[in-house]
Point group: C2
Chain length 370, copies 2
């Protein structure tokens, strides 16, 4: 198929360092190319891909400190407009930007939403476009806006060959990702210290989270047993994950997916997290990690890490979270969107909404809804 | 003609209090309706108009404290999309949002830019869409992006019957509008106090300018002769303008138009300002006000206010800045956009750019470029 992929412009595809969404888009893009699709990637100009790249900005917005993101994403739509007839399907990863863009006669459009959807200020915009075709990255992500025309949940997948299994002999817990109140590194520090366990924190600090870092994290770094090593590159991250006893992921927010959980499991490392957003869909409690109610329960289960099987973590990713499985499902989405949507989209007032049920919780892969 | 007008959603049309752009759009809308056009106004639901109103949001974003403005403006595009075939022309006042939206076969689109255009982060987006049709609200506004396809400068105009001429006997200078560093109320205070002249400040403070207000304005309010009365409604504003000896407008930013200048002149009140942005195009130096290089020159000319003719101020608005004149020019724009643009817009790669010269400085009205 001839596929247009629209990526966010905040990070390059793949990102130079942090950036889960852009990394997933990169994996999907390269796998689609490998399978023989003609893929055109609309992304920042410092992206690297075997697809045809349409560089929307010279470099990623974060790289050049740009604060204005609306203009560049609208520019992507302008560039798409000029090439629209070349595509069989348009796959947007840029939130709601593409939604008012689509016209009858256009190639089918499907939008994967990557963010949290529980913020009330966004309800009206999603409601206005709820008859467009959406993909969620977990079932939990849908809860605040169940009436969107959800056509599938497609869990992220990763190229497992790039993630060697580690032995987990580093005798430390790992906090990985982003320093922010909802990711709760301060809680990770408190829990680890309470148990006398070592904690390594590998994470970036965005400008918006600088105050939280200074107020809640920096003072806690002074004690023993906690090491903050900043943002790490891919090789270093893999090494850290493979050696960790567990990924400590004590989040408190509606996590839409949580890429770091499957990266940890791919390296054989179990995940200790809270019942928030997607975590129950990704972690099998007492098998590949622990899904806890609160920090007290986390502290409790961290004493039982030996019960978990590092091979089970790896196998979970091999069966449920590979880039090949993700790409299979997106190929099915691309085939389904045209067949189901074309007749509806030709009339503007037809608000036919699919509210089909979610796949069962214990579904081994994320089935497309039948 | 069947005209779609897209207004910003930050304020109602007309605004309940402050909001120059929304007020101008309201005047244009009602005058177009009066002339028999079929006008559809896309605006916040608390707008009041004789046109057909498409309410994009229940109330204006500022009224409900909404911080997210991208979604609502994209929703406006979705609502426009459903009605597109009903229009002969689409007139956008919502910056670059409409630019990637337009397709070959659509009604012609013309965008009036209301903001400053000198911010480098916006250059790429304007460059990408420079072949679309733009209207500037002063010639000075164009300077940072001269290569856009500017098809006209249309100065704002007001309904002069609503602005009675005042006698200017209030023995005070007036600062009117918005408390912000670029509007420089602190300088207005310093200048007035230096000369022992009374100053009345009628202005709103946005959240973003709260710090400036507290640091630079509030301490200066303690001395004598300066009265801060907050944000005023229309009737009170007219009264204040008519009684003022002069409008003190000591701005330091590329003012795109400066509606308050023509409101003052309509009430017979001259304007003392700086050579910034549009001011030289609107104020005739030594006739309807003074256009000064700096604050020292402002202090100097404030001693010569008696040289200015209040009737000349009024006549300037009657001849150059009425809503009728503005509407004449927009009607001409609406007629010209289809004729000039349709052939170009059908091919996406044709970057034919008009860089015709500005109308002469002493042009009695803002001529459309020939």
């Amino acid at each position: 198929m001839r596929i247009a992929l629209l990526a966010p412009l905040h990070e390059a595809v793949p990102p130079h360092r942090y950036g889960g969404t852009e990394r997933v888009i990169s994996w999907l893009t390269e796998e689609l190319v490998r399978r023989g699709h003609a893929v055109t990637l609309f992304a920042s100009g410092d992206s690297r891909t075997k697809a045809r790249l349409v560089p929307v900005t010279p470099v990623a917005l974060r790289s050049c400190g740009a604060t204005e993101a609306v203009g560049p994403h609208l520019k992507a739509l302008g560039l798409l407009r000029e090439r629209l007839a070349e595509f069989d399907v348009v796959h947007s990863h840029i939130d709601f930007f593409t939604l008012p863009f689509r016209r009858a006669g256009d190639p089918p459009l499907v939008t994967t939403l990557h963010g949290r959807l529980d913020l009330p200020e966004f309800f009206p915009i999603y409601d206005a476009f709820r008859h467009e075709a959406f993909v969620s990255i977990s079932d939990a992500q849908r809860l605040p806006v169940p009436d969107l025309n959800w056509i599938a949940t497609v869990y992220h997948g990763l190229p497992i060959a790039q993630y060697p299994v580690g032995a987990g002999r580093g005798d430390y817990l790992l906090f990985l990702g982003r320093i922010s109140p909802e990711k709760r590194p301060h809680a990770a520090i408190d829990i680890a210290r309470r148990l006398g366990l070592r904690l390594v924190i590998a994470a970036k600090v965005d400008a918006v989270d600088r105050q939280y870092y200074e107020d809640a994290v920096l003072p806690r770094l002074k004690g023993p047993g906690v090491e903050y090593i900043g943002e790490t590159g891919f090789e270093e991250t893999i090494q850290l994950l493979g050696d960790a006893r567990a990924l400590l992921f004590p989040i408190h927010w509606p996590e839409p997916f949580g890429l770091v959980m499957i990266e940890a499991m791919a390296c054989g490392t179990p995940v200790v997290t809270r019942r928030c957003g997607s975590t129950r869909e990704i972690i099998d409690h007492d098998v590949t990690g622990f899904v806890c109610e609160d920090d007290d329960e986390i502290a409790l289960v961290l004493r039982r890490l030996d019960r978990l099987d590092r091979q089970a973590c790896r196998r979970t990713v091999e069966t449920r979270f590979t880039v090949e499985r993700m790409t299979d499902e997106y190929e099915a989405v691309y085939r389904r969107v045209p067949r189901e949507r074309m007749s509806r989209w030709t009339t503007s007032s037809a608000f036919t909404i699919d509210t089909t049920s979610s796949p069962p919780r214990d579904s081994p892969t994320t089935a497309l809804e039948s």
